[in-house]
């Protein structure tokens, strides 16, 4: 096994089996790190907790809901606003965060009364919102507050409201992934099947494992609507609570982030017979194939192909402009979970960059299988890295850019490595054909930023290049390009709008006559 031992972790020998280098001739039967295990004591992990995984990642993107945490205010505050999962109802779910604000006295005397009071107050403060998700935290779980009973009491007293209870305290798993699992199962057990939807199309899907980061969901839903497909629910970005109660009526579950949401797809498959189709929303070829698959499933492949042709013609010349300038750049692809495999091959194919390392904070071995399979030889794969290991890897690999979260990203900057936010994005959305070009533009701007070039100057010994201080990205990126490329009439920089989402919200879609009698329950 080609394990990689970090020098900084020699004092934590168990860490050795959490990193591998995919060498020549290596495959998944010889190169796979351990994963989804408890963080080793002494290793300062970058992981989140199971409460965060349930509330922040999956619960809170639901848009028409009060998301209440039963615990200290810090739990809700620290899982608020950092992921930019916007919504088309004026971002209600991002504007506010709610907690029962448990204190020491509640640990001793209990906090059920406090919880009930907070639930009722929150509903009164937002009289137009009739849905709530309620999250257990470590503190309330340890003292045994019965939040299910309180939720039931409130629903009896206020029959117009509905409350979902998520029992995923922070200690409920090795990482945020434990919370993903718990909220998936809790949602299908408590809520799916409770609402009968209005079916408006012959072709009905749930779009699962999609969190509408900077509008990703709205871009993809636009494609589906252009194909005449009804997106019954999105689990959960820009998703509606009641739509998600009717997931059982879809014909197909289209799954994007299998790491966070395969559980509910698997359960829907077992309980309701709804098949699961895993797709990639990133990358020209991968996205095109994904749309084609959905089209094929419903016998409307021609509609998918029309979108692929139109979008490719519009955006490929812009992607290729960036590809010429990003060719061979070294990338550390260090996201949380699914993007390591969503992006690993697509960025190489479409942007010409070379992924020298993948890591995952909370991915399972299955995610590493997907990620390593999509990398070329020589890639360093790390499970649950600590900060020192990340620093050592950056010094060893000397990447041109890193895609990661804002905590490790800011650390990378200190090593003069520019970073892009893989979780919340810089100038997203990154999904869709246009979104993928926006990602390439962000990579280009980061690598060739004239300001960033100055960080390579050591002012204690280097001469300050005052005569060449005026630079633009293009002056730096085009130095070694052929005239054929720089003078190309085909290739062009990104020409899209600053805001690509608002227009989608007012768009009208073609009317595809139904071939079957539709049910309106």
């Amino acid at each position: 096994m080609p394990y990689h031992k970090f020098k900084c972790s020699e004092c934590i020998p168990e860490r050795e089996k959490h990193a591998v280098i995919k060498g020549p001739g290596e495959d998944l039967t010889s190169a796979l790190p351990l994963g989804y295990l408890n963080t080793i004591p002494g290793s300062i992990s970058e992981r989140g907790c199971a409460y965060c995984g349930a509330k922040h990642v999956i619960g809170t993107p639901m848009k028409d809901v009060i998301h209440m945490s039963h615990g200290p205010v810090g739990c809700t505050y620290d899982t608020w606003q950092t992921k930019r999962y916007i919504s088309d109802n004026d971002n209600f779910q991002l504007k506010y965060t709610y907690a029962t604000d448990m204190k020491e006295k509640h640990i001793i005397f209990g906090a059920e009364k406090l919880l009930k009071q907070n639930i009722i107050e929150a509903f009164k403060a937002f009289p137009n919102i009739k849905r709530m998700t309620l999250y257990q935290t470590c503190a309330s779980a340890l003292i045994g507050d019965d939040i299910n009973a309180i939720a039931a009491e409130v629903m009896e007293e206020m029959p117009e409201v509905d409350i979902f209870v998520c029992n995923s305290p922070g200690f409920g798993g090795p990482s945020q992934s434990g919370g993903h699992h718990k909220i998936n199962i809790a949602w299908i057990n408590q809520k799916v099947g409770n609402v009968e939807p209005k079916i408006t199309s012959d072709y009905v899907i749930n779009y699962v494992g999609e969190y509408n980061i900077q509008g990703d969901q709205e871009v993809m839903v636009d494609y589906f609507r252009r194909m005449g497909i009804q997106v019954l629910s999105t689990f959960t970005g820009n998703g509606s609570y009641d739509d998600l109660r009717s997931m059982h009526r879809a014909h197909l579950n289209v799954l994007e982030c299998a790491r966070s949401a395969e559980y509910i797809c698997n359960e829907l498959r077992v309980r309701y017979g709804t098949p699961r189709l895993d797709i990639d929303g990133f990358g020209f070829e991968a996205l095109g194939t994904s749309l084609r698959k959905v089209g094929l499933f419903f016998g409307i492949e021609d509609r998918a192909q029309a979108i692929i042709d139109e979008e490719t013609a519009r955006w490929k010349p812009e992607m290729d402009w960036y590809k010429e300038r990003l060719q061979g750049k070294k990338v550390c692809l260090w996201p949380g979970g699914s993007k390591l495999w969503h992006w690993a091959h697509a960025i190489r194919e479409d942007m010409g960059v070379n992924v020298v390392s993948v890591y995952t904070k909370f991915g399972h071995q299955g995610d590493m299988e997907k990620g390593i399979a999509r990398c070329e030889e020589g890639a360093l794969a790390i499970d649950d890295p600590n900060e020192l290991e990340a620093l050592e890897a950056l010094e060893m690999l000397k990447p041109d850019i890193i895609f990661t979260g804002k905590r490790p990203g800011e650390v990378a900057k200190k090593l003069r490595v520019p970073y892009l936010n893989a979780h919340a994005y810089h100038n997203g959305p990154y999904k869709g054909f246009e979104g993928w070009v926006r990602f390439a533009r962000d990579i280009y701007n980061a690598i060739y930023s004239p300001i960033h070039q100055l960080s390579f100057v050591d002012i204690s010994k280097d001469e300050i290049p005052a005569q060449t201080s005026f630079l633009t990205q293009k002056m730096i990126s085009d130095v070694n390009l052929s005239e054929e490329v720089t003078a190309s009439k085909e290739l062009r920089e990104y020409t899209g709008n600053y805001d690509t989402i608002t227009a989608l919200r007012n768009k009208t879609y073609p009317d595809f006559p139904s071939e079957k009698k539709l049910s309106a329950v």
Binding site: E262, G273, K293, L296, Q365
Partner: protein
């Protein structure tokens, strides 16, 4: 001949590993069904045999199989030089290799977890 077939199988494996997701469902029993369902239908499409797609499960396997067969034909021109028996032999080799890489030889400790 055997080496040539092995090389062709590896080319197909490489395409699947880089571009597909269906082979990595989270449990061994699920991967067995996925590999069997999709690769059998891919073989049938390549051999121009009838493919079952009446149930939702069969249809979703067929969807992946159609895209896989198209990608194979587009990328690997040598496929057109094989007769049906050779394609069947090739796809059998591919299925065995995929089963080994993703199931029987896999180091993924979660594959045998009885729960999702």
């Amino acid at each position: 001949m055997e080496d040539m077939m092995k090389d062709k199988v590896e080319q197909l494996v490489d395409y699947i590993m880089k571009n597909c997701l269906w082979q990595f469902h989270s449990r061994a029993w699920d991967r067995e069904k996925q590999n069997e369902g999709i690769l059998t239908k891919t073989m049938q499409i390549l051999c121009e045999e009838p493919v079952e797609k009446e149930t939702p499960t069969d249809k979703v396997y067929w969807v992946d199989a159609v895209c896989l067969a198209d990608a194979f034909k587009k990328r690997y021109s040598w496929l057109a030089t094989l007769d049906k028996e050779e394609i069947k032999l090739l796809m059998q080799g591919l299925k065995e290799r995929m089963d080994y890489l993703t199931i029987t030889g896999s180091l993924n400790a979660e594959l045998t977890d009885p729960h999702y």
